[in-house]
Subunit: 115 residues, 4 copies
């Protein structure tokens, strides 16, 4: 007997996108520190760190089946969109572009979950 | 030379309330498991765990001076309000009442930060 | 120019195993609450929750290239081994067995990273 | 009826020290980015971020009464000691010195909990 209701495909996608965006932001943070200059601006890096946190919080809310994931996904959609814009502004190499893409994908699927 | 701008009192209060609510939810979770019954219902406990997560995410966003704390605080205000209601519904001992109070306090100061 | 040194395959594997074990523990927690009985014992569930936390802390330490990942992986190896044993003790369905397997895999790769 | 056993004073102290060290590391991270130079070196900042994570993981393990806190506290003691040394090396202002002190205090109480 498996008591837990199966998650739908859209939520599974959103969990995967949040998990990927979290990982990208955490690893890109070091890349930005190594690049220095505008990559290492306090506003960009504190945004990246907060994006990583809210992605994990949203992924975990969905993984544990908490219906308040609607609120975390709404916040996550906004913050990922802001983080994508910040990465795109300085997207002069493949690492930054990959991070921006992960943020865009996460923003879109979180916006759908929060709708 | 201290480059970091001082935080205002309302934000310091909100950080303290988020930190306290996070800790209360984490420690009350064990209490609920030990009590069993409705205290240990999946909906109540996954709400408590998500409340702990968003409280920490919001506290950290403010501690690192990320202006997107507005979005995390908005989510935190909603989730803490829901968690307070869930704790109050079963608040038959001092531990549950203290947790409900911490959630109420956090919900109110997060709502102010998100306004 | 990509300044960040490439991670080796063993570390990439360990990050994937920690990420998977984190997700399994978070989602299995709800399953355990729904099953109740020994699945919902305070000792089992607080172990699962701590296993989820240390897995994420270790994955993130490796993702951001922090050399202190050696210490987090050592703790993660021990806690995952303990969590696997706890899941195996009550592994009467596919969800528990999958969680136990994820913990075993993570324990093994973390032990290698910490060696 | 309160089912949860009271924590002893040493553990309460350790939880407070981990919570304080987590907050100091998160807020000092922005300060270091604003200072730039050696304050913003990738090795220092990824150490600070990992120190913040393991402090929270240890605090939460103790708050939820998980006996595997012994392993997280052992890792936390090592990482906090390393983070204190890194802060002390560049401790040319009050913010860095306060962060170093929080790390030392946390390292000492975690070492006692892990003994």
């Amino acid at each position: 007997m498996e008591a837990t209701a199966p998650r739908d495909v859209a939520m599974d996608d959103c969990i995967a996108n949040c998990t990927d965006c979290h990982a990208r932001c955490v690893e890109t943070l070091r890349h930005c520190l190594e690049r220095g200059g505008q990559h290492a601006s306090p506003d960009h890096l504190t945004l990246m760190a907060t994006c990583a946190d809210i992605c994990r919080t949203s992924a975990d809310a969905m993984l544990r089946g908490a219906d308040v994931h609607v609120y975390t996904c709404r916040a996550c959609a906004e913050i990922c969109r802001r983080c994508a814009e910040s990465c795109e502004r300085i997207a002069d190499d493949a690492t930054m572009r990959r991070c921006a893409e992960a943020c865009r994908r996460c923003a879109e699927s979180c916006a759908r979950m929060a709708a």
